[in-house]
Symmetry: C2
Subunit: 427 residues, 2 copies
């Protein structure tokens, strides 16, 4: 059963997972205390069939089964850190090369993810509580941290159109380029865009969706982004493709938008809004969507159970990010804004597959990335991509596409099959 | 735009909306106090273009526009009640014939619904807080109240298969019979049932879904129901259709189920569970669904914003009922049970259309219903059907179909289009 659901191969070994760490192994041979700490860590990770190895090659692994991979720890402080604050320590020490992973990084992180409880640690909760709200200024800093790494960095491993969100593999054999195109089109069809309509896009990345909507659906798009690098790229592309008249790229926070639109769309932005600011999204929806005919789509990384994002990811990759549950979306964003949920699709396995494709391309770009950004950066991104793939694969993270309308509006289509039949029988 | 979304004709006048009330108009000609009360009620309902008429034919209606209908009030206490406790009074006095509606009942109730705020009154909240939890015994009483009215009652106005839940009008021209068949099949396809699998159904009505699953998808069904009349009917039908070996109808609360199943399905039952008992559904899911391959579908009447069901409906039609939000479903049922939401579809306009079809058939059965159950019963049901149609039409109520899986399971299909292509390319 479920034979039609593709399983994702998490077992291919990444080139750098065999690499040696970056830090000299200064520690003396493991002593009694090291062996005791090691046996505690091993006990925690053994159900995942992951073997711990100390810096002298010894291991407390005792399970009968062949391990699926090894964590090689290069010093005592890393070992201690794995007990005190595992999520953060795993990332920090992997990044710094004080911890190596032997075997397939996505499969091993998937197994380790399955061990975790869904309950956040007290440390995690405290950190989340102390985190500051994403003001307009703070949002700009957070976005700059990630998205302004240089367009040429992303060009090395994203698809041709630079779509940095979950793709939609509508058919088995699709390439990443095709699957990203399919995703852009799926979003348009779910919104049932028709020529001449006005669309606001919140967080437009490098502009691929805005341009797709304008070119293929004849709509007028007002697209917001606070990443300067991305906006510059998107404007240039619009000019080149003679779509500047139809798509306006605005270098501003979408919360500053004014006017009424037929449709609201946001792909991969809600995660960056932060838990405390979710209601501000609802306020924007309420004042920008036409009450009688408007509709919107939010595509975002979410969760089943409310919990802070992995601490290391927040520190190194996505400062200020929070992945909301559908309940939080309903209670904090949509219901207060008078919106009804029309349709939800969970594409988590499509994101796992997207991330696997990115990891493979990232692997091919390793030399460039190491030479340009350094080894630590390279290892951090390698772990971020593999860990995210594992999180979507295990159901730790979800990818939700949610279609909604103002309560007074009719749903954008009478049946869901309409958008899927659109290519067969034009509506 | 939205030209493809069918609008529902709420304007056809029902036969009995012209009928005179059942109660003798004993009151004297309206005095000063009556006129003052009437002007207050008129002020509230005037934005809906509904005209109030007193028992002497006079009216405080003053809007320039032609009214869409009239509320004819036959005595002072009804007038007073409409101010003090409008939801309950409207139903009670309509039922008793102390209030008549001139014009199309669904359209008028839709306009009046639009006037309400989504905030429940303090009276409503207090009533909901005082309501008792649905114990196994209480559930049985509540179900008996509604579903054991006699199969021959329901046979008069439901479809041939006796499906008493929202139909799915997959194509414009479908009849109610076809749309109910389409709904049963949609549920099966969303669950991707395959031959030999085991399914638990919680609240199986007259058995139509259980039998459809067994006949067309080759699964083994264990179906629970606490309505004796329905169970007896379903068993007889299974025997007649030679499906007794595949479908077991159990006269018990589904919470008493044991064993592990491939799929869980419940259509139109969650509304009867009650707010306090939602978590008991999660507990059943957790212990009955196979962790690695299970999936489930809940089809239920829900809301955008948490609020008690209309007080009159709870009193006269559905005691103990509560229509949850998606947030309540997530937080109280699915997340604690370790379930991930895979897919949500909102079919509210399909329910409005279903109710319109039921109302029309109910109208044709009026003589029988009045003769068998009396005028009060007939008027109560007429209002319940028309009011429900209005609630789905205005977005006051939603109809959610939610597909979920245990977090460890893969989604039942790789893409959503799969179930829709099923009839074209067998899987």
């Amino acid at each position: 059963m479920h034979s039609n659901v593709r399983t994702i191969d998490l077992t291919s070994e990444t080139e750098s997972s065999h690499q040696h760490g970056l830090v000299a192994r200064a520690d003396a041979r493991p002593g009694f205390i090291d062996r005791w700490l090691a046996s505690r860590v091993q006990r925690i990770i053994e159900p995942a069939r992951v073997r711990l190895e100390l810096w002298d090659g010894s291991s407390p692994y005792s399970a009968g089964l062949r391990p699926i991979g090894d964590l090689v720890v290069h010093d005592r402080s890393t070992l201690l850190g794995l007990i005190v604050n595992p999520d953060m320590q795993f990332g920090e020490s992997y990044m710094a090369g004080r911890l190596d992973v032997r075997g397939a990084l996505p499969a091993i992180t998937a197994q380790l993810t399955r061990l975790s409880t869904l309950e956040p640690s007290w440390l995690d909760r405290a950190r989340a509580a102390l985190s500051t709200a994403n003001t307009l200024r703070r949002s700009r800093q957070n976005v700059h941290h990630h998205y302004d790494l240089g367009n040429s960095f992303y060009e090395r491993w994203l698809d041709r159109q630079m779509v940095y969100t979950c793709a939609y593999f509508a058919r088995e054999e699709m390439s990443l380029e095709e699957a990203q195109y399919a995703k852009l089109d799926l979003v348009c069809r779910k919104l049932r865009l028709t020529p001449g309509e006005s669309v606001i896009e919140a967080g437009c990345g490098w502009g691929s969706l805005a341009l797709h909507m304008a070119r293929h659906y004849g709509v007028k798009v007002t697209a917001f982004n606070i990443s300067r690098e991305q906006i510059a790229y998107a404007r240039e592309r619009a000019a080149r493709e003679k779509l500047s008249g139809q798509v306006e790229f605005i270098d501003d926070d979408y919360r500053n938008v004014s006017g009424r639109f037929d449709a609201f769309v946001s792909v991969g932005m809600l995660e960056h809004v932060g838990k405390r600011n979710l209601s501000s999204v609802g306020a924007v929806l309420q004042r920008t969507l036409k009450r009688d005919s408007g509709r919107g789509l939010l595509h975002f990384i979410g969760r089943d159970v409310s919990r802070p994002l992995n601490a290391w990811i927040r520190r190194r990759i996505f400062p200020g990010a929070y992945t909301p549950t559908l309940a939080e979306l309903t209670n904090s964003v949509l219901a207060p804004a008078g919106m009804s949920i029309i349709d939800v699709e969970n594409l988590r396995l499509h994101y796992a597959r997207t991330l696997a494709a990115w990891s493979a391309r990232f692997g091919s770009a390793s030399d460039y990335v190491r030479a340009t950004y350094g080894d630590e950066f390279h290892r951090a991104w390698q772990l971020y991509l593999a860990g995210s793939e594992a999180a979507f694969h295990t159901g730790w993270l979800q990818l939700f596409q949610v279609v909604f309308t103002p309560r007074e509006s009719s749903p954008p289509s009478w049946t869901r099959s309409d958008p899927f039949e659109a290519r067969i029988t034009p509506v």
